[in-house]
């Protein structure tokens, strides 16, 4: 294999990691609070706001129901407004982030669901404010579940980022399609798939390790 080819593979790997890192980070920063909001604003919860809860829930569902490839092309104007261009890894990171936010939010909500209502009651009996309950009870107690959710998100982002080629996003999936499929180069195809597999394995193991560390049950 030529050194140019190796450079190409290396670059594509870094591109994928970049897109996953940026979208993973931002979607966590937005999705985590959104997930907490979805949970605490439920009826009979510590900050019960049934109407707000319904609105957030519908927005989240809409976000989750749009197929990624359609989301990617339909928000191109928004992407251009945000990062100045509609092609490249920065442009691809925008739809990845948008798609991952509701995903993270629902997984965080599911993790919070696992907490025994008794713990919240005990904290209320101690005179904890809703904010204190979120910070000192909900987040720490759901940490293991949230870690599991974030691991699932990162792995999903790796596979979604392979579609980023459709908007000239670059990365391993794009390389695999353009060189492996369109130019009939099964070696390149195989290499990109192997790298993706290794990446997924790596993130999954890291996630599992972090979950084990935070789980005290």
């Amino acid at each position: 294999m030529s050194s140019a080819m190796i450079d190409l593979i290396l670059q594509a790997t870094l591109d994928t990691l970049y897109m996953v890192a940026v979208s993973g980070l931002i979607s966590t920063l937005v999705g985590l609070p959104l997930g907490v909001m979805l949970y605490v604003t439920r009826p009979r919860q510590i900050l019960a706001k049934p109407v707000l809860n319904q609105v957030l829930s519908i927005i989240t569902n809409v976000g989750r129901s749009i197929p990624f490839i359609i989301l990617m092309v339909s928000i191109i104007p928004f992407t251009r407004m945000l990062v100045g261009t509609s092609i490249g890894i920065n442009a691809a990171s925008v739809p990845l982030t948008i798609a991952a936010i509701p995903f993270v939010a629902r997984l965080v909500e599911a993790a919070l669901n696992e907490i025994s209502p008794g713990l919240i009651e005990a904290a209320q009996a101690m005179g904890a404010t809703p904010w204190q309950i979120i910070r000192k009870v909900l987040i720490p107690e759901a940490r293991g579940g949230i870690m599991t959710g974030l691991t699932i998100t990162v792995v999903t982002l790796i596979s979604y980022s392979a579609m980023a080629g459709a908007v000239g996003g670059g990365g391993l999936g794009d390389l695999g399609i353009r060189y492996g499929y369109n130019r009939f180069n099964p070696t390149i195809m195989l290499i990109t798939v192997v790298i993706l597999v290794i990446m997924v394995q790596g993130f999954q193991s890291l996630g599992d390790y972090l979950v084990r560390k935070s789980d005290r049950k």
Partner: protein, 352 residues
């Protein structure tokens, strides 16, 4: 210290167009717990015990009525003032409700953190508490590594961290085995004794009431139907439900073969079977032999039990009275005149 007056709690559930369904969990409950006493509320599950105890610290807000703790009307407080008031009310639960991701030390420290206390102040408070509940050596362990009894001890230490004047116990021993239950009850009694903390507990176990309560209320279907000194409640419950609890507790029911032979009405050749309850002086009086001498009635004892409840002795007996109808009638009057409670369970056919 705790005063509930006329509190009611009604839950409304929407029945999709067919109007609302109202569930009355509490009906005009009134309860006073004086400072430094241990008050028990006993009832069957679903009777409203949990709702009642949760109304004290407003985990449940009563639909109507007033809740006063330490002279403060709780239902009128702002959120911030309510949280401050809750610092003065500790609570422990059936399932302990410890945070799984915090060590024993950090669990006990939580209420102090919530109050914004400094790290070293927290330490100075937590260590003696752990010593008091006998878990100083477990400070760095996690709840999952502890037994049920140890978890409840941690929960007690946590509830006491903010130096409350009131401790609410929600079925605190219901998830524990009998030995552990008695050690936890002993700890609660010590806390009441040494710190003068007022304790309100709810339970379905008479054993709990018997061993630590001063007064007891009986709750049935959202209503407080009986309120008595524990000694009185165990010797002479005033309600049918109270008697059922007592009989269940004493496990004094007639043998099955006898129940099958019992007739409701007396006949020509029947003997009455009676349950006798006696307390105080009656326990030490040789009434049975006097009965034989003075009324000419023989007594065949089927079951008997003597219990001591907080320095009072309670005797129970199920017996068959052998004699003519007039004699047995006379015998029952004789017993009643000596402060015994006589309850006729039925009549059995004579064997001779």
């Amino acid at each position: 210290m705790i005063e509930l007056s006329n509190i009611s709690k009604t839950y409304f559930s929407n029945n999709k167009g067919r109007g609302t369904n109202a569930v009355h969990a509490l009906k005009n409950a009134t309860l006073t717990v004086p400072k430094g006493t241990i008050h028990g509320v006993i009832g069957l599950s679903g009777a409203g015990k949990s709702t009642l105890i949760r109304c004290v610290n407003l985990l449940e807000r009563p639909t109507s009525g007033s809740v006063t703790v330490d002279g403060q009307e709780m239902t009128q407080l702002s959120n911030a003032a309510l949280n401050r008031a809750r610092h003065r009310i500790g609570m422990i639960f059936q399932h302990f409700n410890l945070l799984t991701t915090r060590t024993v030390f950090d669990n006990v420290a939580l209420p102090l953190e919530l109050m914004g206390q400094k790290r070293h102040t927290v330490r100075d408070r937590v260590i003696p508490l752990l010593e008091m509940v006998g878990l100083a050596d477990k400070a760095n362990q996690y709840p999952a590594q502890l037994s049920g009894g140890q978890k409840q001890r941690v929960a007690i230490a946590r509830a006491l961290a903010s130096k409350p004047q009131v401790l609410l116990c929600d079925e605190a021993t219901s998830a524990l085995d009998p030995q552990t239950t008695s050690s936890i009850l002993e700890l609660l009694r010590d806390i009441n004794h040494q710190l003068g903390i007022t304790i309100l507990l709810i339970t379905h176990e008479m054993e709990v009431v018997k061993s630590i309560c001063h007064r007891v209320s009986l709750i049935s279907d959202g209503e407080l139907v009986e309120d008595a000194e524990v000694g009185d409640f165990f010797t002479a419950p005033r309600t049918q439900l109270g008697r059922e609890f007592l009989n269940d507790f004493l496990q004094l029911t007639p043998p099955k073969e006898l129940i099958e032979r019992l007739l409701d009405a007396s006949g020509e050749n029947t003997h009455p079977v009676v349950r006798l309850t006696f307390s105080g002086d009656a326990v030490s009086t040789p009434l049975i032999s006097r009965l034989a001498r003075e009324c000419g009635v023989d007594v065949s004892i089927l079951q008997a039990k003597v219990e001591s409840i907080q320095e009072r002795t309670l005797g129970l007996m199920i017996a068959e009275l052998l004699g003519s109808p007039t004699q047995t009638q006379q015998a029952m009057h004789y017993l009643e005149s000596h402060q015994l409670q006589v309850e006729v369970l039925g009549h059995v056919q004579r064997n001779d």
